[in-house]
């Protein structure tokens, strides 16, 4: 594991300890559990964002991939538990498909990642709004099937186990498989990776596809948490996913970073917001402190190498 991921873990621990001192509720399991659950949503989108950042890319289509998947889930499951497997498959499938198109556009057509994913975000926003008639369609008001909502019940919500599963999956994929080595090789130097036989284009397509899948997963989990889909559900996650990735010690230039760090980064961001809310800091104060915290962390371990 790289050094920056350790720093990220230390920062998350420090923020949680300071938070627990300021807000005694945070020191209890229910308090910590609430932070963990909210952080898991950031963790899901950040998993995808991290994968594309590792090869020097970026995914700006996360907000509406997430939102589209959330609406696909409610409109296809219609609140019925029996239809949940189909709905899950369609929602995740939609996310993977959007990611696949992103990846193909970037790797094969040579469209810059910013343009391709920004365009995809617009396309999905238009499609989602248009097809659901601004979320006024007959099937749009359905609640999430109860098994999905039950993921958030209990002393140890199953949603946290899903996050643990994602963490294991991403870590194993990146650290213990040939594919993972290819990802880092591509991120460090795409040209060198290509010359040594790495299918750089294939790797890129796979990563954007996965990112779409993770954004869809976040959308599904958010519907389970909130009960219903809403418009703009994904908007906060565009910049939050990027922030979690870099606070987690992943280099924005690619080639360096671990998901453990991103988990810590997600926790840090959510814990900061939670503590500020608990301290009844008004929204403008929260925004400013949030930005200052990110800046401070960037200064601590997010700087680039000096020139010559």
């Amino acid at each position: 594991m790289n050094r920056r991921a350790l720093y990220a873990a230390a920062v998350a621990a420090a923020v949680l300890v300071v938070g627990a001192v300021l807000t005694p509720g945070l020191a209890s399991w229910p308090g910590l559990r609430a932070v963990l659950v909210v952080a898991s949503f950031t963790g899901f989108v950040a998993a995808g964002q991290m994968l594309v950042v590792l090869v020097g890319g970026i995914d700006l289509s996360i907000p509406w991939v997430l939102n589209a998947a959330a609406i696909v889930l409610t409109t296809t499951s219609l609140g019925a538990s029996g239809r949940l497997p189909l709905a899950l498959a369609l929602a995740i499938g939609a996310g993977l498909a959007a990611g696949l198109v992103n990846g193909l556009g970037i790797a094969w057509l040579g469209v810059p990642a910013v343009v391709m994913t920004l365009g995809m975000n617009g396309v999905l926003q238009g499609l989602t709004l248009g097809l659901s008639q601004g979320l006024t369609c007959d099937d749009c008001g359905h609640y999430a099937p109860s098994p999905l909502r039950d993921l958030f019940a209990g002393t140890v919500p199953a949603a946290l186990l899903v996050w643990l599963g994602v963490a294991l999956l991403v870590t194993v994929l990146l650290r213990l498989t040939v594919f993972g080595r290819r990802v880092y090789a591509t991120g460090v130097n795409p040209r060198a990776a290509f010359l040594s036989g790495v299918g750089v284009k294939g790797v890129t397509v796979a990563l954007y596809t996965l990112s779409g899948g993770f954004a869809a997963l976040a959308g599904i989990m958010l519907v389970g948490y909130g009960g219903q889909a809403s418009l703009g559900l994904g908007d906060p996650y565009l910049f939050e996913s990027i922030a979690a990735v870099v606070v987690g010690g992943v280099s924005i230039l690619g080639g360096r970073g671990d998901y453990v760090g991103v988990v810590a980064g997600s926790l840090t961001l959510v814990a900061v917001t939670t503590v500020l809310r608990a301290q009844q800091v008004p929204e403008h104060g929260r925004l400013m402190i949030y930005g200052l915290v990110i800046l401070a962390i960037l200064f601590a371990y997010g700087r680039e190498r000096a020139h010559d």
């Binding site: 365009g119 995809m120 238009g126 248009g130 990027i242 400013m288 402190i289 000096a306 020139h307």
Partner: protein
């Protein structure tokens, strides 16, 4: 071929203008009149200004996500103080200072532009909410008559000023250095270009452009909103892209970005007069963005094949 890509903005603008004229005339049975042109001019001015600033930053190989925050805070101050000439000058200084902070952090703090401006976006947006918690405020009618007069195309004079400003800047030593830093930072450093100061300068200029955009925004809408700036983040990036400015830096011009910004505004009108359901609007904007860039790439490829 290189020229073709850099002229992408003008080609796209010409095509969009033709489409606008055709769609307007067929749907209303008469060609657009002076009132329509004036409305387009006044609504597009803020985006044009932000896009100019964004293009300067992108030409140096950076990106400025904080434009949303700077526009918001400048809108907030302008509206909250009633937009007297004295306060407008203060707002312009404020915008330039906010941009300079970005530039100093990017250049001397060696933090990636996307991350620096992500953090300051949050800080500036918070400041805007602090100054103007609820939408409102006002602007002096006299100022309004000079900036975005609803009866006289004063906006044209300001647009001409922007074009003239760029024309001069492009020919100054600073302007040359902006391109030098963007095309090859190491080489620029080697020949004695003060890379850090150039970078700090472009972010300050971007802040100044965003401040001007904020003032124009209040002038056109006659009130302020602390969230007014948020849409400009992605639209300014889209303008720059459509305008043929390359994200790799060193290529393109602010005039291309101006053309891109006007084209993006016109597209909304084209969709409206073509009778497209507004809910699908972002779908077409997203496609427009990707297709414009793909056409640019394809044209460049074809030209290269022919010369090879």
């Amino acid at each position: 071929m290189r020229d073709l890509q850099e002229r992408l903005g003008y080609l796209v603008l010409a095509a969009t203008a033709v489409a606008y004229f055709a769609v307007y005339t067929t749907s209303l049975g008469r060609p657009p009149g002076s009132f329509d042109y004036l409305a387009i001019l006044n609504t597009t001015m803020p985006l044009v200004l932000v896009a100019v600033g964004q293009s300067l930053v992108v030409i140096t190989g950076g990106i400025d996500l904080s434009v949303g925050g700077v526009v918001s805070v400048c809108v907030a101050v302008t509206a909250a103080t009633g937009g007297t000439p004295g306060w407008i000058l203060a707002v312009l200084a404020l915008g330039a200072a906010a941009g300079l902070v970005n530039g100093v952090i990017v250049a001397f703090g060696r933090i990636a532009p996307i991350l620096t401006t992500l953090a300051t976006l949050s800080i500036y947006t918070g400041a805007a909410l602090w100054i103007l918690p609820v939408p409102g405020g006002s602007i002096l009618p006299g100022v309004r008559a000079v900036l975005s007069n609803p009866g006289v195309p004063t906006g044209l004079a300001w647009l001409a000023l922007v074009v003239a400003g760029w024309w001069v800047l492009r020919r100054t030593r600073f302007g040359m250095r902006v391109y030098a830093v963007g095309s090859d930072e190491t080489a620029a450093r080697a020949v004695g270009v003060p890379v850090e100061r150039v970078k700090a300068g472009v972010y300050a200029l971007s802040g100044l452009c965003s401040a001007l955009a904020g003032v124009f925004y209040v002038s056109t809408t006659t009130a302020g909103d602390a969230n007014a700036g948020a849409p400009f983040i992605l639209t300014s990036i889209a303008s720059v892209v459509v305008g043929g400015v390359a994200f790799s830096g060193g290529r393109g011009s602010a005039m291309g970005a101006v053309a891109g910004a006007v084209a993006l505004t016109l597209v909304i009108d084209v969709l409206f007069f073509a009778g497209i359901d507004p809910l699908y609007q972002s779908l077409f904007q997203g496609l427009f963005l990707v297709v414009a860039v793909l056409l640019g790439t394809a044209a460049a490829l074809l030209a290269r094949r022919r010369t090879a």
